[in-house]
Symmetry: C2
Subunit: 298 residues, 2 copies
Amino acid sequence: MAVVLVTGARGFVGRPLVRQLLEQGHEVHAVTSAASEADNAVHWHQCDLLDLAQVAELCRQVQARQLVHLAWCAKPGSYWTSPDNLRWVGATLQLLEQFRFQGGDAAVVAGTCAEYDWRTGFMQEAFTPLQPTTVYGRCKRSCSELAGVFSQLHDMPVAWGRIFQAYGPHEAAGRLLPSVIAALSQGQEAHCSHGQQLRDFIHVDDVASALLHLLAARASGAFNIGNGLPQRLAEAVEYVADRLGRANLLRLGSVAVSPEEPPLLVADVRKLKALGWQGRFDLRDGLDDTLAWWQCQG
Amino acid sequence: MAVVLVTGARGFVGRPLVRQLLEQGHEVHAVTSAASEADNAVHWHQCDLLDLAQVAELCRQVQARQLVHLAWCAKPGSYWTSPDNLRWVGATLQLLEQFRFQGGDAAVVAGTCAEYDWRTGFMQEAFTPLQPTTVYGRCKRSCSELAGVFSQLHDMPVAWGRIFQAYGPHEAAGRLLPSVIAALSQGQEAHCSHGQQLRDFIHVDDVASALLHLLAARASGAFNIGNGLPQRLAEAVEYVADRLGRANLLRLGSVAVSPEEPPLLVADVRKLKALGWQGRFDLRDGLDDTLAWWQCQG
């Protein structure tokens, strides 16, 4: 049992991650920028992570041994270009410093496949150029470099998990699968591109378990978090449409593909798997789980 | 005439830069972390640049149109590995943000040739890999990337000057030329490596004028700041020894060269010169000026 501090605990990845930590018997302290909600199992802390004084006080209070840092500006649509990305770089470094100052021992931070140069297709930690073109990608990439410097300077493990195409419960409504599921569930047409793009889909529960695996292993450096399997977008949406009995409403090819959209974007996950991690979901199981969750949302 | 805010104004580059700004008729506001010294020409402000609240108040008070940001952890010996390098990344971003928020219009920031992969020798902004191995180089390199993101997001020019082998008055005592000058002036032997390494020497007054040139030109992005001329270390120290009449005390070759020390480290300065900048000093004039200054220190 460890005292674990989790930021972004109410986010897409944070929710299953907190649940898994509780199942493993850890004492979970979770950060929220809004007023705390009642929760018997989790210790909620209200804190603006962009405010150094509040971060210092948070870390002093919690005295965590382990840190999972998921928070970042993540507002759908705007996060690719938001100036807040710059603030989160400094905030991440401040959090690591204060966490360590109060006895912190190992951390894992959420990175993104957007740190890579997407033209290369198959992303390998030790080889693929880190030449992102977006504000989000450039800031996350710089932050991963600086987190590496921090880890080296203080001899504290900091793992950086570059997350690929995550899907599952609580995925933001505007993204591909939720919007297809919503349209079809309401008996409306779902308009998609041709769907031939190959992506590395990973269920969000597996993202969470991979991050916690890195933390428990006291891993350092960058790790791709994906399944390593190239699967067509069309395969995912066709399966969903079939399960909803609405294959007739799926309009593959009705939306043009941007010339910048890479045909293949897949993680080399050998480095992660070498640490003994295995995902629980294949794509169909993961989509069944996701559909079951959406059905409960009514 | 512009209102210009200068950080690191008491440093090696800051001193001549402030003097040049005053000569050009600007209103100069300079930051110091210690108590202000009396100075009729410069407006001194006491501020800890690592403290966001103090930075916000500073920028609110000064309402500068232009910013020259030179401050960084620069303690000789320790700055290559200091954890403070990480803090200065966040501090630089905060300063840029607060400066702009209060009406700031253009900025120039001091970078370093240590951002490059030194194995490549001839450093070109658009081509040479940015793969530094030191803490200092990695943090400056990340900061240059993030300053570029800031500049792009806010459509405000931020020039990043990568400074090469600067020398001149007020250079830190432990560095090559000051230590050779000090030893020879005291009639002691000066121990050096073989001195065949080729370096890009630039007088600190020329560094200052280059930075101000970038600022006035509203330049954006990275610019090498050097003379572009490969000159042997031995050439510099032999000239100094001759002028001091102590050539007999110079011991070239008595110190081993580290295998990691690059044989050639020279800037491509075409990008800077294309903006119309020219240096004032060749190596001999610059060394004469430096020696004259040391003699006045008695």
